[in-house]
């Protein structure tokens, strides 16, 4: 079990922020989505469920599965998030385990995945409220702060270090596994033994090149390795091997759109360039290969900087260069921040070819998107305050602790490290052939942006909220399945009119994401396109579209197939007698009258107090008492209105 404090209370929390988790881990994103969907769905389905409010309990109970112990739930979540940064979450859970909720008292309820005790706020409502509170809180904060700082322009550049997905270290054959016994994956060179020499592992180049291609870089045919000297306890050689003078990739770019979460004032699209010193292959503290991605100082709002980091992570992950994101420490960001007063003389500093900037400071080692945003805000405010009180900004390196409100000085210019970059005399230049590049370019997956454009475009017309998860879920497998379903469905519906056919893509996405996704989450099963073959789902939707079955029937059949019924859909519907045989008007009237007769007082309420909502209850009663799969809700309501309201 994991308890989430209300979102707006978690704004400055040092442990985990939902925002980051949602963004970085598609799986978790999916999971939360489905949880939300569950509440919505089950509310719709069983409208007799009452959930009360409990103001004294601030936690949202996100997940409770009666078949899983709290412990195994946690371990499940942990396996998604990884073990590293979650240590504090584990502690949180233990300290709050006394608040764990009792099991659901209504085991007969159609859905066991609901907030379980009677004193809980409906999750959907609470999420909504919190999101609203968060928004207004943010807006308020922003408004007051921005008003006084309007006259200052912020400039931010981002530097990202991402661990490449490789089997070996960069310069030795030792494995990169971090879960093994300490020091079991160490070669002589990793420990800087006298007389040992680096052995460049050519395979590490592949993910690095994929990232460079995905970031639209110019790949250099020849690049070289340099030594960057500084003493650090777990850096045995006293230097890091990197590409400083001649990196292998330069001049890339990344497009930021408003759906990436850039600040509204940054307009619709931004392209922070990546300057000449783009990407460096690195040996990090544990000797894992890293890529370094440096943007030009072209970003002017904190939110956009965070969006840029998020986007970069998504890109390097989707191209298969990097597997562990920020939440697992596989990705770290440094930001450089400067401000200058608008309308005044341009600043005297120049970075990466962009001149006229103010003195910048660098904030090192930010480990979440929120930290990126918050640290920039704090540093911007600090610099403005210093400058407005007549002070001078010093070029220094600063740090940021999650949850704090100000950056802190780490070392100044005088304490800055002279890395004494020297070409490594042992490592030959890296020569990258065009043949390798073209084969990598051919095999690289379509960029998420391109997929998104396709899905929201006229061919599919999906809303962004659906298109994004389709792309992000299951490493693209869900999207592939979706395409299969749509293709089959379009063939099946070839006789239908254009308007109906145009709506198919949207209908299919609903079924693939929400209906099928809901079943997966409920059964806690990983994605597998064979559980419900695309053909079956397409046939099911086809029948529904043609009104040959009712919606509830379609959902029920989907669950049947999901549970292992392999019969073709037409045969299944036939054999189980599920095809809709419309009731006659007489049958509807008889059914409605019998229901009305049993509940005269409710009829009275509807008539006297005009409580039209209760009509729905009668519809439900008709569907329940009527022959299974034959009562169509709209028709039932029509008859009821006629009988009750006249």
């Amino acid at each position: 079990m994991v308890y989430w404090t209300q979102l707006w209370q978690r704004v400055n929390e040092p442990v985990l922020d939902l925002d980051s988790l949602l963004q970085v881990k598609p799986k978790l994103f999916d999971y939360i989505r489905l949880l939300v969907w569950y509440i919505v769905y089950s509310r719709r389905k069983s409208n007799d469920l009452q959930i009360a409010k409990s103001p004294e309990l601030p936690q949202i109970h996100v997940f409770q599965d009666s078949t899983l112990s709290p412990e195994s739930n946690l371990s499940m979540l942990r396996s998604w998030i990884g073990s590293g940064t979650l240590r504090s979450l584990r502690v949180r859970r233990l300290t709050r385990s006394s608040l764990s909720f009792p099991k659901a008292p209504f085991s007969s309820a159609p859905n066991r995945y609901l907030p379980a005790s009677a004193d809980r706020v409906p999750l959907r409502k609470q999420l909504k409220q919190e999101a609203k509170a968060l928004r207004s809180h943010k807006r308020q904060r922003k408004e007051t702060a921005e008003a006084s700082r309007e006259e200052w322009e912020l400039t931010v550049g981002v530097e990202i270090h991402a661990q490449l997905d490789t089997e070996t270290k960069l310069f030795s054959r030792a494995a990169t596994s971090t879960s093994d016994t300490p020091n079991s994956n160490v070669a002589l060179f990793d420990l800087a033994f006298p007389g040992s020499q680096p052995a460049f592992q050519i395979a590490t180049l592949l993910p690095a090149l994929r990232a460079a291609i995905a970031l639209n870089c110019e790949i250099q045919p020849v690049s070289r390795f340099d030594r960057k000297h500084y003493f650090y306890q777990d850096q045995p050689a006293g230097y890091q091997i990197t590409q400083y003078y001649e990196p292998f990739a330069r001049n890339g770019y990344v497009d930021l759109f408003d759906y990436d979460g850039i600040a509204p004032e940054d307009g619709h699209s931004q392209i922070p360039g990546i300057p000449p010193s783009t990407q460096l292959l690195d040996f990090n503290r544990v000797s894992h290969p890293l890529i370094e991605i440096i943007t030009m100082p072209q970003i002017h709002t904190p939110a956009t900087a965070a969006a840029c980091v998020r986007k970069l992570q998504a890109i390097v992950q989707s191209c298969g260069a990097v597997t562990t994101g920020m939440e697992m420490g596989g990705l770290r960001a440094d930001v450089n921040v400067s401000v200058r007063r608008r309308g005044e003389e341009p600043g005297q500093y120049q970075y990466d070819g962009i001149s006229g900037l103010g003195q910048r400071t660098e904030i090192k080692n930010l480990s979440s998107f929120k930290a990126v945003e918050d640290a920039i805000i704090a540093e911007k405010n600090r610099q403005i305050e210093v400058l407005e009180s007549g002070g001078v900004i010093e070029g220094e390196t600063r740090g940021w602790t999650i949850g704090s409100t100000e950056t802190r000085r780490l070392r100044g210019k005088e304490g800055s490290v002279d890395y004494r970059y020297m070409p490594d005399p042992d490592i030959p230049p890296l020569i990258i052939g065009e043949d390798l590049l073209s084969s990598l370019r051919d095999s690289i997956p379509t960029a998420p942006d391109a997929l998104l454009t396709l899905l929201v475009g006229s061919e599919f017309s999906l809303p962004i909220e659906d298109a994004k998860p389709l792309i992000e879920l299951d490493n693209g497998a869900r999207l592939e399945y979706y395409h299969d379903v749509v293709d089959i469905l379009r063939t099946l519906q070839v006789d239908q009119d254009d308007k109906t056919r145009a709506s198919l893509a949207r209908v299919a996405s609903n079924w693939v994401l929400h209906e099928l996704g809901g079943l997966l989450a409920k059964a806690d099963r990983a994605w597998d396109s064979e559980i419900v073959p695309a053909r079956s789902l397409a046939h099911l939707i086809d029948h529904l579209q043609r009104k040959l079955i009712t919606g509830p029937t379609a959902k029920q059949v989907l669950a049947t197939i999901f549970d292992g019924d392999h019969r073709p859909v037409p045969q299944l519907l036939e054999e189980d007698n599920l095809l809709l045989r419309p009731l006659s008007r007489e049958e509807y009237l008889a059914l409605a009258e019998s229901v009305i007769a049993l509940n005269p007082q409710m009829v009275e309420q509807i008539r006297s107090k005009n409580q039209l909502g209760k009509l729905g209850w009668f519809v439900g009663q008709m569907m329940r008492t009527g022959e299974k799969g034959r009562v169509e809700a709209p028709k039932a309501e029509e008859i009821l209105r006629e009988l009750i309201l006249g």
Binding site: F193, P198, M422
Partner: protein, 500 residues
Amino acid sequence: MSLLREAERCVANQYAHNFNTFITPLSRAGPWLDRVKEADVRKEEGKPKSAVDGRLISIKDNICTRDLPTTCASGILDKFTSPFNATVVDQLEAAGAIVAGKTNLDEFGMGSHSINSHFGPVKNPRRDSSGEDLSAGGSSGGSAASVAANQCYASLGTDTGGSVRLPAAYTGTVGFKPSYGLISRWGVVAYANSLDTVGILGKTTANVRDIFDILNQHDQRDPTSLSTSSRSRIQASLQTPQLASRLTSAPLRIGVPMEYNVSELTPSVRRAWALSLTHLREQGHTVHSVSLPDTKHALSTYYVVAPAEASSNLAKYDGVRYGTRAEGPDGDGKPDGYLFSNTRGQGFGPEVKRRIVLGTFTLSADAIDNYFIQAQRVRRLVQQDFNAVFTAKHPLALQSADKIANENDVDVIICPTAPSSPPQLSDLKSKSTKISPLDAYVTDVFTVPASLAGLPAISVPVTVSGEKDAELAGIQVIGQYGDDQLVLKVGEMLEGRHLD
């Protein structure tokens, strides 16, 4: 004489003469005895493993051996034993040779007289007429002296700026530095990687050639080891009729660089040089003066490049994972203090510290353009100087860099190895006449250019009649990259000659 008898004699000499040649001598009794006996059997059967089967070869103490410590003559590694053998050690052992102990050197190879050692200075087995102890040269002084004192059959040293050739010249032995990249450096403790070369010391050029043939192999563990394909290219480039004939009969064109006739040359060395050239001319070869104009910058270039690389290479010695740590807590007692300031302060000798500081400076942001980067440019000029005078073009140079043939092109260059005879150890050490580090650096003036260009060079001993008695001098032969066999051949022509 049987191999066993020869080996026992060598070991006896190791213990009899106190020239401080060995940091770790071979124990008198050990498994090596059986291995030599087995080699004797193979020799009698006429099936020796190689030319060095059963021979004792001493190893400079900056080359890693699993069975004996590898101290680099440094306090920071004074008890260090490497967990692995250098490739060259494995190659020699596979050929039947026995590691004859680890020889003394200048700490990490930094020095020209083998006096910068944690284990005390090496003494030259030769003495001057007054009976004073002489410098054995450095930094492979222990290796050269162990050969000269018959404490081994041959020795492996390392040559970064002349560290094999200079001691050979001072001790009257043959010292060969092959082309850079031919012999594996895996397991050779780096001083300046781009210059470090394993070198071979022996009594005769023939002995040296035998060992070179064993070690001249590609090693995939050394990223700077020449690939098999590059080796083939070199061989192919030497197969042209004009170049191939030089190893057989054709008269050679011998180059004499004008710029090497420096004022620091002592008369006896200048005489030895002149007589060597006369000797070669008498053999039918022709002598031509050549110009290597950038040689005068070579020494300063070397003393920028080598310390820069050294400062980087030596950053790893902190006594944490291996090596000797200073007594007591390190890091100035501060929790965030460096964990190795005392350890490095105590572990390194003064010359090593001097070069680390020098290298750190030349790499620093403010100095790198004027020093390190400038030095790299000059290094390129020095290479071009050599390419301009050799008949054979650099076999690994870009195809486009076609050499313009010049009628004054030469096959090899002949020059002295050192500008003077070995100085007295007492002079090097005494306070009054103490030679400044700069003076010591001048000793390398003739050896450094070949190191900067990665060229093969050999120092062979010749004797000339002096004022009182015969004087020994080292004559150096330098060839084009990859022309190692020719260099050895010319060395052989001069080696051991008594010239009048």
